[in-house]
Symmetry: none
Amino acid sequence: MEAARSNEVLLAGELEVRCEDGLVLAGGRALNVSVREFELLCALMRRRDRIVSREDLYRTVWGGALRGGDRSIDVYVHKLRSKLETALPSMQFIHTHVGFGYRLSPEAVTGASHPFHTPTTDR
Amino acid sequence: MEAARSNEVLLAGELEVRCEDGLVLAGGRALNVSVREFELLCALMRRRDRIVSREDLYRTVWGGALRGGDRSIDVYVHKLRSKLETALPSMQFIHTHVGFGYRLSPEAVTGASHPFHTPTTDR
DNA sequence: GCACCGCCTTCACAGGTCTTTCACCAGAGC
DNA sequence: GCTCTGGTGAAAGACCTGTGAAGGCGGTGC
């Protein structure tokens, strides 16, 4: 039953994550990510299109309860965003839902300012 | 018994609210709403097609009794209406019943002024 | 041992978002 | 006309998130 997950491949648009060997493919090309970045990305990919709270993310990736004032998640979301944007500039993957958490969904970068998921970093 | 609510999904026309993770979908697209906006929307969705008094809404969303002169509900109803109208212009969701409260029902925007539920905002 | 290097955490500042409150206005009912 | 109720825009402060940088730590190669 471990075998099931060992071959787990997560997909989101042009983004592909192979959990068994820590490989991230963006548009077919391998992306260089650290262990933490990889686990954070996995945690978000496994809950694609849903909002994952910071508490959940911290428990999943770091283990243990999120302490007040801990900014690790923000920093790593930022690092992931940078790398993903560099690799796939036309897509936006990690969306912020203020007060709720983060959501991973591949969405085309519009440029317009709809009231949809308009994170701070849109402009 | 918590499991029942944990997957609670509220539907009203093209509007979908996933209570467990704070996600609002309008026509399939994620809508960006704040915590208060979300809770107010949930409170209305859970009593779909029924009139909810301001006192009830305040108790449910803000907690505690509604003080005279408190306009928070009006402001947040307005914010929700703006976002819903931008996302789904052809539908009207939140209807005012002066002196009674608010009612959430998906109704097509007619343009005509039937004597049905003619809320203040029909203009 | 020692310099180098990448990774992780923490800090500090900046900027954006959320909530509440206020002010003014319009419409309904008396 | 007057009062009550609700619509709407703006403003202030609290709160949350983005972001660059510094420091510690462990691994690697010399």
